[in-house]
Symmetry: C2
Subunit: 347 residues, 2 copies
């Protein structure tokens, strides 16, 4: 399976993650310091808004949680349609940090909106993989992911790099208590270990090989990873994967699960993760097959209990591994899914 | 089909919507005025946060769009886990409006979080169906939906009432340009007309009767309705319905659609809706059956071009009608889906 010609690019880019993350971890403290400087130059930050689409949106969600936890500041995910289709100017974001996430830094809608926030007094931070991009140039602070060219259509190494970048930004906004430079450096090593530990993924892929739809469930740090893993399964396999928060899932959507619709549970060692594990019983009553990655999963020894938001990256890597393994089993080439393009052009 | 014993409660509660909405429209201006007064009593509002779970979350999303458009104020959807599981106090929300949406007003998590926002200087507005509830009593302003008891498990009349309530609140926060009291009163009539015009829904239900998973797609005002319709299909039918923003859908998730996985498009007359209709061609190339509700759908004459955010209610009603019709065709009683409870108790 590993020597498959399918998903060669995706596999290679996934394998680069420890190196990309280690490099970024080396700049973690300086990114946090640059963000702190922006806050201290003014009257302090009034809030933090995120601007993103697709996979970047899931990294933004992690950033939002990290900032709310560590700084207690208001956070907002910008709805691009309000600014583009409805032509509203962001005139009440003076003193806010606007974190724009775009792999290419060239998505026109993202560049346009970031510029408009900047003109209205927001401090724009660009998180991109191309430090010469329009978005990077439009920003007060450019955080380069330095992940190298990403050629496979499913974004992998840029997503985990974006996640680490938003954790570094959160460290600069907050007053401690979150992931710091040391945790980040260790995280790069943990991702390497996880990538080397494929047995839990292959076991999960055997269970899920014939599946056409599934629920991907997590809470806290694992919720953005659940959304990202669902997106990866959608776009690489065409499988109807739906990411849910454990808290919402229990009160209605769990009805979708049954014999033919399994649940993939992502649950680490954070205070919200027990909610996810608590779903096991009810899912079993419904006859739904359960696949679980995380610290409480007997079969997933590779996922250490980190006790912080960085577990989002571990869950995200598990989702990538699963998507790639399933694609190979199903004879699908995830490097070039039919009909999808890399740079998004949203009107 | 209409005289089915299945979904009698759900059908009856759906039928009450024009009356509930007309009553609420009669209080639209006074709700807006009470909200405006809160803003004027202080130094003006600094932002608007929403607190909700499940269906209420979708009404909150509509409120967020309406407020961003009409007031340009920062908005935020509160992540309950940050406050409950991670024990963070909302100390930076002084001068914010906190809009807490809960049908019963008794969901302990929502009550607790609203009280904590209030203690930290946020202006709490409770939107509930029970003006004597704990949540209503904890609030500075209580907006009663007066929808009457909701007995069916799938929330219908309280959801559209919540949507109208958040539009009234948006009118009080904003400086015009959105739905006003007159538009609200007309909207109640339009909902009545839509409920009487079931032919498009029955045609759609014929197409979708055997479907086990589908994508529900919308943008702008129809995006919250897409999420709400997907939730309704999940909880009443156990169908894997996934709500998507048209803008995200096109760049990856569209891969889930094909011969066996149709797309339900919700597209009204707003500036973002053309994006949704633009998906028709690509969906057809993938062989995916398309069902469409909205102003551009030849078969859906009952949906008038309102040109404002109120179309979210029309799209939401179409989703309710579809869920009920499909349930009856499939012999499912949506009043009592197996294993679901009405009041949510999230740890």
């Amino acid at each position: 399976v590993i020597d498959s010609p399918l998903g060669r690019l995706m596999g290679a880019e996934m394998a680069e993650q420890p190196e990309v993350l280690a490099r970024l971890a080396g700049r973690f403290a300086s990114i946090a310091a640059a963000v702190r400087e922006i806050g201290e130059a003014g009257d302090g930050l009034r809030g933090v808004a995120f601007l993103a689409r697709g996979s970047s949106d899931n990294a933004a969600l992690l950033g939002r949680y990290a900032i709310e936890q560590q700084a207690g500041l208001p956070t907002s995910l910008v709805a691009p349609s309000v600014l583009t289709a409805y032509h509203r100017e962001p005139e009440h974001f003076r003193g806010w940090l606007l974190i724009a996430l775009s792999q290419s830094g060239r998505t026109p809608e993202i560049v346009d909106i970031a510029e408009r926030f900047g003109r209205n007094g927001a401090h724009v931070v660009a998180v991109t993989n191309d430090a010469d991009s329009q978005l990077a140039r439009a920003a007060r602070l450019s955080v380069a992911l330095e992940a190298g060219p990403e050629l496979a259509v499913p974004a992998t190494k840029t997503v985990t790099a974006q996640m680490m970048a938003v954790l570094a930004i959160a460290a600069g906004v907050g007053s401690g208590g979150g992931v710091g430079a040391e945790e980040a450096a260790r995280l790069a090593g943990e991702v390497a270990a996880l990538l080397g530990d494929t047995a839990p993924v292959e076991a999960a892929a055997r269970t899920l090989a014939a599946v056409r739809s599934l629920a991907v469930v997590g809470r806290g740090a694992c919720y953005p990873a659940a959304l990202e893993s669902a997106l990866k399964l959608q776009e690489t396999l065409g499988v109807m994967a739906h990411g849910f928060s454990s808290a919402d899932f229990r009160h209605g959507p769990i009805a979708v699960c049954g014999r033919d619709v399994p649940a993939l549970l992502l649950a680490g060692s954070g205070p919200a993760d027990d909610d996810t594990r608590a779903l096991r019983g009810e899912l079993a009553l419904r006859g739904a097959p359960i696949v679980e990655f995380g610290t409480g999963a007997a079969a997933d020894g590779g996922w250490p209990a980190l006790g912080h938001m960085g577990e989002c990256l571990l869950a995200t890597v598990r989702g990538q591994q699963l998507a790639l393994s399933l694609a190979r089993r199903l004879g699908i080439d995830p490097d070039q899914p039919a009909g999808l393009n890399k740079v998004t052009l949203t009107a």
